[in-house]
Subunit: 255 residues, 4 copies
Amino acid sequence: MSKTIPKFEVCIDSVQSAVNAENGKASRVELCSNLVEGGTTPSSGMIAAILERIKIPVMVMIRPRGGDFCYSDDEFKVMCLDIQHAKLLGAHGVVFGILKPDGNVDIDRVSKLVDFAKPLKVTFHRAFDMTNNPFKALEDIISIGGIQRILTSGHDSTVLEGLDTIIKLVKQANDRIVIMAGGGIRESNIERILSAIELKEIHVAASTTIPSAMEYKISTIHMGRAYYNSEYMINVVSEERLKEMISASDRESSK
Amino acid sequence: MSKTIPKFEVCIDSVQSAVNAENGKASRVELCSNLVEGGTTPSSGMIAAILERIKIPVMVMIRPRGGDFCYSDDEFKVMCLDIQHAKLLGAHGVVFGILKPDGNVDIDRVSKLVDFAKPLKVTFHRAFDMTNNPFKALEDIISIGGIQRILTSGHDSTVLEGLDTIIKLVKQANDRIVIMAGGGIRESNIERILSAIELKEIHVAASTTIPSAMEYKISTIHMGRAYYNSEYMINVVSEERLKEMISASDRESSK
Amino acid sequence: MSKTIPKFEVCIDSVQSAVNAENGKASRVELCSNLVEGGTTPSSGMIAAILERIKIPVMVMIRPRGGDFCYSDDEFKVMCLDIQHAKLLGAHGVVFGILKPDGNVDIDRVSKLVDFAKPLKVTFHRAFDMTNNPFKALEDIISIGGIQRILTSGHDSTVLEGLDTIIKLVKQANDRIVIMAGGGIRESNIERILSAIELKEIHVAASTTIPSAMEYKISTIHMGRAYYNSEYMINVVSEERLKEMISASDRESSK
Amino acid sequence: MSKTIPKFEVCIDSVQSAVNAENGKASRVELCSNLVEGGTTPSSGMIAAILERIKIPVMVMIRPRGGDFCYSDDEFKVMCLDIQHAKLLGAHGVVFGILKPDGNVDIDRVSKLVDFAKPLKVTFHRAFDMTNNPFKALEDIISIGGIQRILTSGHDSTVLEGLDTIIKLVKQANDRIVIMAGGGIRESNIERILSAIELKEIHVAASTTIPSAMEYKISTIHMGRAYYNSEYMINVVSEERLKEMISASDRESSK
């Protein structure tokens, strides 16, 4: 008996990527800018140009900045305005997530945004993976109503790492909401992931790096920010972490 | 005899920063998103929210992605749409720059965007510092007409490094266009810069880092992209560069 | 029936970490400097100080720089001298790997280093994961003789990602050499890894970040190198990669 | 009247760079490993191989790890051992620096290392730039005796930025110790630096990036650590910094 064939949502940040995603048979795109920081709200022109070029649904990222998911009143207002604008332009849905400082889903504010977004589709994004408890967060998000899916890497850095949690989440969700797995899914691990769990939807980047069209290049001037190793943090082996690993290994070996 | 007191333009990417800039007596703000990559076009909601909160002029960055300044037709179209939208929202000006693969200013396309932007003010941004020749680029930009200022760090990584070139550019410009110096200007070097050159306008970040409001933090999951040292590039001392430096030193010593 | 309890080798770069590893019940340490670039040859003083402080075996990384594993004659000579010195100091073993430009193991040079290292133990490190074919590389390394183990993440970014390849490698090795899995092994995934494969040895970092002892901190000066986003590379969705993923998904779904 | 022609010290981390530095007419090299973190103690083999290949003096970096300059007893011991070993190998001098948590020079420990290093030459490195007061630090270092020079970028990120402080330091030193300027000195700014100040010694990297010899490349596996944007820090415009800059600008304009 064959399993469900999952739908593929592809993360994009340009018209070219939107077209490539459609040609590559994506079911849907998630449109962001600033993927370096994990995706923020795209510009009006980018949304409009992409809606004009592809036929598959476009979900618009609503995230006013990189970093955490705890927003000021000003940032919340920006999100409201951007949802309104995405709706005006004809987007099919919006993607957001808001947490409280304690790591719980901010139910009040998410509810307001969901109301605001109607009748657009809504995805709760990987802010889910930064909550204090994914199983509680799942119930909180379902309780809000009007959210069709959650994007998650299983409360871990990648879907492969978080696979056990994703399996539990799919079971707990029990079709009340779609658990869309995303984060580090690649050609080399997708069969393994799908053999472990039946997923209705998958979120992928499927990206590649292409050289710039510039022939004249300057290597000494940079437009962006510099990153440095911190001078004031030191990495050492943790006796505790090591003991935990050895214990886990012993438990498994004596099974 | 006292010199001109320069106007300060402040680079921002949030409502909070817009308010702080106005309170700090900025003359104008440049609104971007994605400062990690040097600034890209902000979202509609961000532009609208900031225009509502501050009274000083808001210049909107029109840059469809990070990286170089040579754009596809699709990217050019996105820029046109975003200029149109910034105008609609009531922005005071727009900021952009387009180069050709050979490192010259793309006069045709820049002209089209300037026409499109009318009657908004226009700044040609630091794409200027990535041109093959800043003195030719200056004439090209003046020849287009309708561009009020050029943002430059003097074809170098910072204003302090590029000071000699900025001095030459101001002289060459001869009030036909404003040379706005920006890139690495700080409290500790601004007096030195202004003692070397009289500038009408200065562009600064004046930023600080504040902690997130989150109390519950996860350090093992990241939303953004990872950076790595390249495995396939090696740094070595260049005999040529060293000889050049020693020659320059000899020239200076024998003056 | 219980499985083998794996031995734990811990990667260290300080005396403190060496002591923590021993206290945490590590079976052995791998001593490196410069873990930021994946580990290079430690200094003489570091090797000596650690040999004095802990009783478990110390394997010394022999890698003259970060980056690739294709070395100049000068670099090869440095490796020879460092092996000699590690032996002199009383280290228990050395860790290295050399590749040819085509991605094959450099059998000649590795053989010379193995001879040179006698009677020390030898580990072939993750250069193994940068070869053009791990199954051929395994046979090449075994054919050299005198190498006790290979450190590998299964020709992939982490052990979890490369698990299928590690399983095949263990089977192929058939006790002729130890396949030591290492790369991204953590408390949260070690049971899963060990339930999929019986491993004799595991290589872990088990590290944590501790704050510096400095009370007076300067945040504007950095000692190390700056990283920047490249201005001349652009990320786009790859139609081909997306199609490959969807095909893999279809294959799995129709099983 | 011509000025002193400065001596050039070149920072190196390989035999190739040592040879290039000598060919490029360097007066001396500073040998480090791990330049990514600003330089740490090189391996025994690297020191020996370089001493064999070049005739100009080799100063050996004695720094047991990246990060701050406040060391544990274990780290201090490693430094002692490494100084002893560098002496044994025939190095011409050693380079180190130790601070106390309050940002003062650790006079006691530095004195011990200087005694230990005799009769080698000693440079106090850029830990100087992380002290709480460079003018006090200068006197502290002179008071120790036996230290020939201080490497400094003028308590700022680069020599160009810190030029005013370097000028003051040279004046204050008054030939009691050599102030060697280093940090960001390049072909494009060296004449400007030397026209502002007469320097006896200059420290440069003069480096270039060359491609690896590997023809077979894997772009998906990395040996080193990943860097990420912090999720829990937010950059905003600082009203205070902006006001400070505008004040500085006003002061300069009214001169």
